[in-house]
Amino acid sequence: MNKSNKKYSRELAEHFFRTEYGKIVSVITRYIGVNNVETAEDIVQETLLKAVDFWQQNGVPENPQAWLYTTAKNITLNILKRKKLQTRHHSEFHRNTIELEQLQFSNEIILDEQLKMMFTCCHPSISENSQIALILKILCGFSISEIANAFFTSNETINKRLVRGRKQLRDNKVSFEIPKEINEHLAIVQKTIYLLFNEGYSPTQKNELIRLDLCLEAMRLAKILITNESIEEKTNCYALLALMQFNASRFKARLNTDNSIVEMKNQDRIKWDKDLINSGTLNLNQAMKSNQISIYLILATISANHCIAKSFGDTNWSAILSLYDNLLELEDSPTIRLNRAVALSKAKGNKKAIAELKSIELNSDIGEHPMFHATLAEFFKEEHKFVKTIEHLKKAISLTKNKRDLKLLEKKLIAVVPIS
């Protein structure tokens, strides 16, 4: 195996283990209790280490998953029998031990327990930061430093969030189950999944593989919501998944080799993933089943309109504009209006878009925002009003705090400054 193949295989293996990690931790937590979730994680770490050792010596077993689950189960039974855990009721452990001994792992059980873990990690008593950290650590098998990387912070900070989150679970006596008021909790789970996805989608992420993994994990978690029977109202779950699939479909075309962003008009659409676009469309269809609309549905449809356009010029901008108008009915905000202005400029002309941005600026403090000026600069550029373009690009540059954004804006500025 040459060097790059080896690296690819290792990454695939890490990915596999990462996913299985979350599944097994969830199942084991069911038997040893939320109070002992850290022990569940330790058990799974030990299992995976054993797997690497054993499989390298003896080859990969016929059913790798089953091998992992059986090993984890046996380690857990040992621990239960030796009563080394924080216990609330002795009888509870006794019962759990018997059930675990007889447990046959099935896809259904694994899905169910992961769903419970999602609700547990997203319990409303836990702060948002801790929710995301818990999900990434427990369900998605990310290491602390990978999570720290994803959120531009230190290992200590992430560790604190995990510790706090676990403490909140204990203090609030959160039990491992699907909550009765499922809809409120579901909204938090969905938001967390989407925040996860956004982190992966964010081009400021250093490690490309972590970014892709974050997006894939978010989509995997959304699929758990969809396949589970305990959730009756799935409309928003389908819409959320569709949104992520449409956005992810453009993933490979969005990045240059030097990790800079390729704007949509320059993206090579051949690289857009047709399978994801297909899947997104099917899920979008499913999201129409009830008489409800959500921001996810509208954003997904906007993204879909980009995805099905043969070229940037062929994009159905009036459809997108109309969708933004619908979105404004749900919420009228400067951020939405700013994004809508781009569609407006394409559908109705730059002058109208410029006027719209001027009016948003008067009514809010979005003028403090670099993106506002970058957008305005783009409209002026299309109108060949280069003095204004330069003015607003410079303003955007002065307001930007992010190195990558800065690089991109400076590149744009150089492109319009006349050569003296």
Binding site: S9, S127, M288, Q292, Y296
Partner: protein, 118 residues
């Protein structure tokens, strides 16, 4: 580890392969659906107001990022925002008169909040 790799790679493929025309049709259909519901002013919701999510892309002077394609990809890719704690944002929303009974309700709230950028 070869079989192992094959095992990992077998992921589910979508059940149907839609043609460009079919894709177009589907997307237009959803667009029409959204427009109809918005126009009719009807958003049936089973939950009481307090339980629903909110869209927070702008609250009382704090601009919060959102998952919008246009400024993220069409213009110049992306931007990060300094934003406040989500819990505080929720408290502010509860005071907002727009979210009283009978006004448009939003089912879910995707909000991207990022810690202070170094």
């Amino acid at each position: 580890m070869k079989e192992f790799m094959l095992f990992i790679r077998s992921e589910e493929k979508p059940k149907a392969n839609l043609s460009p025309e079919q894709l177009q049709q589907h997307i237009e259909k959803v667009g029409g659906f959204i427009k109809r519901l918005t126009d009719e002013g009807r958003m049936k919701s089973a939950q009481p107001l307090e339980m629903e999510g909110r869209i927070l892309s702008y609250q009382n002077g704090k601009i919060v990022d959102g998952p919008y394609n246009e400024t993220k990809e069409v213009i110049s890719g992306y931007y990060h925002l300094l934003a406040k704690d989500l819990e505080e944002a929720i408290e502010i929303t509860k005071e907002d008169p727009r979210f009283e009974e009978g006004i448009w309700r939003v089912e879910v709230r995707p909000v991207k909040i990022v810690e202070g950028i170094n």
